[in-house]
Every structure is written in C-alpha cells, then in structure tokens.
C-alpha cells in the first residue's frame, strides 16, 4: 500500500517526477557512455599494441630515465657500442639478442613521390625472429632487398618486386611485412627494414646500435635475463636502460585506469547533481505532505512505514531513470565510442574490425544503473528520515 502511495504521489506531481527522472537518465547515460568510451579506447589501444610480452628492450642510459617506448625524455641520439652488445649477447645467452640500427633517409617510391622514412637495419638472420611477412620473402644473406611496412606499402602501393630509391641507392622490395602494431621495441608498420650490411654500407658505420632487443622464449625468465644483463653491463655505472614490454603495458594500463576514472568521475558528478535534485524534490514532497504524514501517523502508521513510503518514491524515480538511462546509454555509448574510435584511428586501418561492445561496456551500463538507483535512494533517505521522525501532533498542526 505504501508503494501505491508513492506511485500516486509521483503521478500527482508528474512534471516534477519527470524532471527528476530526466536528471537520473542524464547521469546514468553520462556514467555509462563515458565508461564505454574509455573501455573502447582501451580495447582499441590493446588491439593496436602487439603482444610482445617476451621482449626486453635495451637502450643507452639517458640522463633522465624513461619508462616506456616513445617517452620524449629518452629521444636522445645515442647508441650502444658493439662491445657492449656482445656483452649483452653473452649475458642473455641462450636467448636471442638482436641489435637494431635505426635511421632515416629520403625514399622515392616512384617518380615524384618521396619523403623521409624510417629505415631499420637488422641482421638477415634476425629479421624472421622479429618480423612476419605478409607477402614476398625475407632478403637472402648478403643480397640487397628491402622489407616494407604494411601501411607504408599500402599507402604507396608497393609490392614485392617494386623498386625503391633510398637516398641515391636503388633497392628491390623483397617483401611486405605483416601488420605489427605499436610495440615496445620497433615499429616497422610505417618503416623500411633492410639487412644490416646494406644499412652500414649506406649510412656508414660507427659500430654502435641505438637499441638492442632480447627475445626471451619464456616470459617467466624475463626478470632473470634482465638481472643478468644489468649485473654484467651496468656493474660500475649505468650504461644501458633495460625495460621489457610488460613495463609498457603496465604503464599503459595505469594511464587507461586514470582515463577511465576521470571519465566515469565526470559522469558521476552529473549523477550527483541529479541526486541533489531528487533530494530537493523529496524534501519539497515531505514539506508539502507534513500534515498528511501526521494524519497517517495518528491513524497508526509506524515511523518505518512512513520512511519506506518516501524511500519508495526515491527508488521509483531512480529505477525508472536508470532503466531509461541504461537503454539510452547502450545506444549513446555505442555512438560515442564509434566516434572515439574514428577520431583515434583517423587515417589508419587500426581497429577496422573493431567491436565496441564487450563485457566491460555492459559492466559500465550496469554500474551506471546501479549507481543511479543507489544515489536516488541515498538522496531520498534524508527527507524520508525527516518525515518519519515528525511527531504526529506537530505534523498535523502544520497548515
């Protein structure tokens, strides 16, 4: 019966109720769709980052330490001497050590179409260890031949057999690399990979490498290998910085967590605003009905029954608002994350087969709805409590 009271009172002041519901809807939609957007970005980036959980990346020690690939503080033109690379190779044995040469030169893809491109030099034996082919074949030992990153190849319509001009030297394209995504070590999707011999004859050599990659077969052994390299190379002074791809993922996850918290927090604020509105509406409702409450109490309604009646009102507002909000945020969150994906992947083919909805999106909708109902009830509690504590005699004296 007290539930029926609540329903009737909400219907009696339907405009007020509808406005409160709209507030909750907006709050729930804000939480859920911002959460969905955050999780979409996460999914997208996770999709883009290659799963290189077994890679240790060693770079020259920089004055200010970086913690992830691409940290601008570590963009220092420095290299690890060949002598140290051999030390690393010994320390990392039997795991595979891959010294990496990186540079840039102007590349002409066909007449009139040229531009600076990243050139990666790897030992011919090492290339198949790090990179997969989409088409063509790996360059043979001591044979000049280039591998073109998949996006670069798509952009300039390059295929095995094509000719490129790097600087003034012509080189045949042996193959096109498979998409690798953003990784902690090298990012060849927009680059050209050449054998180290060709690289050194083209760029000259100073017998040093800007980066050394160690492929550890077993993820369990990463820490042991890192320690071995650390104690061998950095014994007296720090010569190299060592990190593995897990550090990058950790870093990324931290950033993702912060983005999510921030976005959901914004949504939460709008729901709190909606809750204040419910508090206000309920407070008005209690004030208007003081006399009615007094009558109910004098006829034998218990305090907790009055409390329940007003809590029902808040709960109904929260429930309707949250259900509508849940439905709306399913639609709205889908659109907003499609938009987010489009913005984040503009001009690339990342996330082409990317789906927006996963469990965490559903989780955010459910979380938004639960939070909506929860805050509504919490907001209704104070006015309901006040109503229940009124002395019947005082309440009935009110006009």
């Amino acid at each position: 019966m007290f539930f029926a009271f609540a329903v009737r009172n909400l219907r009696r002041h339907w405009i007020r109720s509808a406005l409160s519901i709209i507030g909750i809807v907006i709050g729930v939609v804000a939480i859920a769709s911002l959460g969905i957007m955050a999780s979409s970005i996460n999914l997208l980036v996770a999709n883009v980052i290659t799963d290189v959980g077994d890679t240790i990346v060693i770079t020259p020690h920089t004055a200010i330490g970086g913690t992830f690939a691409g940290d601008p503080r570590t963009a220092v033109d420095a290299a690890i001497p060949a002598r140290e690379v051999e030390e690393i190779r010994r320390a990392a044995n039997p795991h595979h050590t891959v010294p990496v040469l990186q540079g840039a030169d102007e590349v002409e893809f066909r007449r009139g179409e040229s531009g600076y491109t990243q050139i990666i030099g790897l030992a011919s034996d090492d290339i198949p260890i790090l990179l997969d082919l989409e088409e063509g074949q790996y360059p043979r030992q001591n044979q000049p031949g280039a591998l073109v990153g998949t996006y670069l190849a798509a952009e300039y319509d390059v295929a095995p057999g094509s000719k490129l001009t790097i600087g003034n030297e012509s080189i045949r394209v042996a193959g096109v690399l498979a998409e690798r995504g953003f990784a902690a070590d090298i990012n060849p999707d927009y680059a050209i990979v050449v054998p180290d011999g060709w690289y050194e004859s083209h760029f000259g050599t100073n017998d040093a490498y800007p980066m050394v990659i160690v492929r550890v077969g077993d993820v369990e052994q990463i820490d042991a290998v890192k320690d071995a390299i650390e104690s061998r190379i950095n014994r007296r002074e720090d010569i190299v910085d060592i990190f593995d791809s897990r550090d990058m993922l950790r870093q990324y996850e931290e950033i993702y967590q912060q983005i999510t918290t921030f976005l959901v927090g914004i949504g939460g604020i709008s729901l709190i605003v909606a809750a204040v509105n419910i508090l206000n509406v309920m407070y008005i409702s209690v004030t208007e009905r003081i006399r009615e409450i007094g009558v109910m109490r004098s006829l034998g309604a218990l305090r907790r029954e009055v409390l329940r009646m007003f809590l029902y009102e808040a709960m109904i507002l929260g429930l309707i608002g949250s259900i509508i909000g849940g439905i709306a945020s399913t639609a709205f969150g889908y659109l907003i994350s499609l938009a987010a994906v489009e913005v984040f992947t503009a001009g690339t083919t990342f996330g082409e087969n990317f789906t927006v909805f996963d469990q965490s999106a559903v989780g955010f909708i459910i979380f938004g709805m639960a939070f909506g109902i929860g805050t509504s009830i919490a907001a209704g509690f104070y006015p309901a409590w006040i109503a229940s504590q009124l002395a019947p005699v005082d309440a009935m004296r009110q006009k």
Binding site: M1, F5, R8, N9, R12, R291, E292, V295, M296, R297, S298, L299, G300, A301, L302, R303, E305, A391, P392, V393, M396
Partner: protein, 224 residues
C-alpha cells in the same frame, strides 16, 4: 462491559518547554473514562483541551504522571507501541476531517485496516461502515476534494470506526460544518454511543456538548 475504566489519568502533567519559559498545558489532571461514556471536554482556547485529547489518543506522552489505557500503563511506551495502540484501540475524528487526499473515500476508510492486517482484503468492512454513516455508494470512489464537508466528516468517522476501537476521540467534529450538517454528524456520534462506543469529544459549542452525557471543564490546564 468490564468494570475496568477504558482510560485513567493519574496526576498527569504536561509541560512544553518554550524559549519564553515553560508552558504548563496540563497540571496534575486525574480522571477516568468508563466504557460506554460520552464525554464532552470544554474550555477556552489554550486551556489544555487539545493536549488532554492528544494524551488520551497516545499521540503525546506526559511530562509527569501516569496514563492507563484499559489497565495498561502507556506513559513509558515506545513510539512504535504507542502507534500500534492508536491503530488498534483508538479512532480519531478531526475538525479538519484530515482525509488523505491521495486516496479515494473508500481507500481512506480501508487505510487503518490495511495498517493493521497488512492485507488489502478490507473492502467489505469499509463498505459496511460507510453505509452505516449513510454515505451513498456513488461517493465511495470520490477523492476527498470532491466531497462536501459533511461527506468528508462521515468518511472520517467511518475511518475512525473501521477497526472497532475501544475509544473514539473527536476534536471539534462539527467545527468546520454548518449547523444542519453538524447536527447530522452529532446524531451519528450519539447513535454510535448508544450502541456502546466510548466517545470523548473536545468542543467549545454548548449545543454540541449537550449530546454528551458528561462534561469535563478545563481551565489553565486544570479540571474545573
């Protein structure tokens, strides 16, 4: 009828603390209400009539003294216990009718039954009492705002009687009614009393008080 009084006040005092100083609303009032009585409480404004009625109706507790309802001491009971006593043993009729505007006439009458039983199978009893109050069936589904003053007060009396209370308390039951309607309402109350209902009624209208078989006068919180 049992020999035990329905209501017994022993040296009941009620003091309202106010910033301007304490107000003594009731000053050591002792009285008894026996089963089947029809009592009018009369006195000037501010004399303590309403406070007395509130104490009788378990709406308020005394500052000092004891109140017994059918032999049970009530001055120390919890709010929940007092609420249950009001619900099960006492019927109220107010000057302002005090019907619940969200409910139809018949739902107002059902309200105390539902509070007691928690069930909604109360319609038959509600109809029976409403017909006793000479209310037309066509009015049952009307909201209080659609009823005349007299009709509202009949609904209010039906509501007060629906749980068959030991005691019917009326606070100026005809105060908001014209003379003719007021007379009809008083006839209904007198009829109830003839059938055994114990009634205590606050009024300042001697014509209304004349329906009672005993009159208590109260001045400055004391029985006169």
């Amino acid at each position: 009828m049992s020999g035990e009084p329905i209501l017994r006040f022993e040296e009941v005092t009620k003091i309202y603390p106010l910033p301007a100083g304490d107000v003594v609303a009731l000053d050591r009032v002792s009285l008894t209400v026996d089963p089947g009585e029809f009592i009018a409480v009369m006195g000037p404004s501010g004399s303590g009539k309403s406070t007395l009625l509130n104490m009788m109706g378990c709406l308020d507790v005394p500052t000092a003294g004891r109140i017994y309802l059918s032999g049970q001491e009530i001055s120390q009971l919890s709010d929940d216990d007092l609420t249950r006593l009001r619900r099960d043993r006492i019927g109220f009729v107010f000057q302002q009718f005090n019907l619940i505007p969200l409910l139809s006439a018949i739902e107002n009458v059902e309200f105390p039954i539902i509070l007691t039983t928690g069930r909604e199978e109360s319609r038959r009893r509600a109809i029976e009492v409403m017909r006793m109050m000479h209310l037309d069936d066509a009015l049952f589904s009307h909201r209080p705002g659609e009823l005349s003053g007299g009709e509202q007060q009949r609904v209010a009396i039906a509501r007060a009687l629906v749980n068959d209370p030991d005691l019917l308390l009326c606070d100026e039951p005809t105060g908001n009614l014209d003379t003719k309607t007021g007379t009809a309402i008083m006839d209904l109350l007198a009829e109830e009393n003839r059938e055994g209902k114990t009634i205590v009624m606050v009024t300042h209208d001697p014509g209304v008080a004349a329906y009672a078989r005993r009159t208590i006068r109260i001045v400055d919180g004391r029985l006169a």
